[in-house]
Amino acid sequence: MIAPSAPADAPVPILEVRGLSRKFGGVWALRDVSFAVAAGEVLGVIGPNGAGKTTLINLITGHLRPSGGHVLVGGIDVTKQRPWVIAHDGVARTFQIVKPFRGVTVRENVAIGAMHGNHRDRSVREALETADQILELVGITHRAGSAPSELSVADARRLELAKALACRPRLLLIDEVMAGLRPQEIESAVGLIHQLRESGITIVAVEHVMKAIISISDRIVVLHHGSILTSGTPDQVLSDPRVIEAYLGHRFARRRAT
């Protein structure tokens, strides 16, 4: 049993990781990472390549088993649970390298999330109706009948997000949904994320696109070599000299100073 870290009257964080660690061979991909996310919050996770961002998501969703530490969802320990158990707890995710189900249409892809995710539509027909609504929400209704392989990069990312939303999550983990998108496309993705948080979904966003992460996050955690370098509001984090040195580089620092 894990003792609560917060006072008894404080609201239970929707996600809490404690001392989370993962070793690959002799290398610590993630070492002793702890943080909590309050319900309704948007937490950004940034860090240079290889900082352990995707490993963090894989550990939370059960796609990887931690070498140490705990994951709590809504105060309940889900460490070492299988991915589908965690999905049924209301945690959905996207994959950085998109993983559509290639054998079926875009619409059916989303329906698979709707019928097996959190609330579960009880029939294929209901799931397809839900899929239509979600496709409209993410703006790819016109691709509903397409094969996933026919989608553009931006639309494939939207499909990835739609599949996760179809699970009706209370906590959504997004892994670089904006990487490689054009500015307009990023703008619409940012708009969508704002819309999601307004509907009450808590979001943890791993992102490379700095402008995007600043505009969507309430708080940012900076990972570096598998450990938390610092965390705080976007402004605090971005003015931290260690962050600038480790990740952002001088050019970005200068631009923010002016």
Binding site: H63, A92, L165
Partner: protein, 354 residues
């Protein structure tokens, strides 16, 4: 929380089952029921046929029906779920031996021995499925092949119970018979019903939430787990349903043969035929295994009757040619052609080869 459209979608509906059933009935149209109608009409048409055909044709059609069931069964695990099993004959042999041992040693009727064979198939599928379905691709294929060879050896060496290499005989006539022999029309009917049931079960599964779960597991297990699909149970259930159908076929086959040896009912060529029929017909569909099984079994019998000693050579050559021209299966080829409004074998080869 606001009542935005998004919030309503995320909330989800919780409609009672009665309402869903009513909606299902209301939305039946010819366009979405033609397959079910075709199956029922086909089944009814074949029902009376055994009264008018010759015994040889009856025997041929019985074999065709058996292979329809076997191909549908293999397609569930190898086609939809994407786990190409090279050991499905283990269920066939197991079903045959459970039936024969129960009828011969325990004098149980066929009507108890056959359900026992099915239960044995399910149990065996769960037992070997739990460890083996963790393997993928070639490793799973080799492991299932090994499991089938191993189970044959076990039956071969359980001489006191199974008769071992000397074979086993089911008493079928006189006072000794727990169930009177069906005769050719009887086995025609038995295999026809088995084929129809296996097509119906596959079709219902394919259109259900479970069917989509099988496809998701086939495509990407990490992604399937992420959307809440219990990949372990999907794989084991698909394997078990497949095993149940194959064991049932083995059970009827055993009664039909009366006398057989381990090498007959654990013959790896049963597995090979299941794989070829599904691949040539078109895996991951219902029509594919049906077309593959009917086409190949009729072709193989036709060649055997008309070509004498060359029949296996020609049969093999035809399989090679078909696989080269229709790598995705005959049914899927015509489905693609219909979708693209264009039939071209050359285009097809290019699309799936290069």
């Amino acid at each position: 929380m606001s009542a935005s459209p998004l919030a309503l979608i995320l909330e989800g509906r919780k409609r009672p089952g009665r309402e869903l059933l009513a909606e299902w009935v209301r939305t039946r149209r010819l366009s979405n029921s033609w397959a079910a109608i075709a199956l029922v009409v086909g089944f009814a048409a074949m029902l009376g046929v055994q009264q008018v055909i010759e015994p040889g044709t009856m025997r041929l059609l019985s074999a065709v029906f058996m292979f329809v069931a076997l191909a549908q069964a293999w397609n569930l695990i190898g086609g939809f779920t994407g786990y190409a099993s090279f050991g499905q004959v283990a269920f066939f042999g197991l079903g045959a031996y459970i039936t024969a041992v129960l009828m011969n040693n325990s004098h149980l009727t066929f009507w108890l021995a056959m359900p026992a064979a099915i239960a044995g198939g399910v149990l065996f599928a769960v037992l070997i499925g739990l460890p083996l379905l963790r393997l993928r691709g070639h490793y799973f294929a080799i492991a299932t092949l090994g499991a089938a060879e191993g189970s044959r050896e076990v039956i071969n060496n359980m001489t006191p119970v199974t008769g071992g290499g000397l074979g086993i005989t089911i008493p079928t006539f006189g006072d000794q018979a727990p169930t009177p022999y069906f005769g050719k029309p009887g086995f025609y009917l038995a295999f026809l019903i088995l084929a129809a049931l296996s097509v119906a079960v596959s079709a219902l599964l394919a259109r259900s939430r479970f069917g989509y779960a099988m496809v998701a597991v086939h495509e990407d297990e990490a992604a399937a787990g992420a959307v809440g699909i219990n990949t372990t149970s999907v794989k084991v259930i698909a394997f078990a349903v497949s095993g149940a159908i194959v064991a049932c076929a083995g059970s009827i086959y055993a009664f039909q043969q009366i006398e057989f040896y381990p090498s007959d009912v654990f013959d790896p060529s049963f597995t090979v035929l299941m794989v070829i029929m599904v691949v040539i017909g078109g895996s991951g569909s219902i029509l594919g295994p049906l077309v593959g099984a009917v086409g190949l079994e009729l072709l193989s019998q036709f060649l055997r009757i008309n070509l004498g000693s060359y029949n296996q050579l020609i049969f093999g050559a035809i399989i090679v040619v078909v696989v080269v021209f229709f790598p995705q299966g005959v049914v899927n080829f015509f489905r693609d052609a219909w979708r693209l409004r264009r039939i071209s074998l050359l285009d097809n080869i290019r699309r799936y080869r290069l």
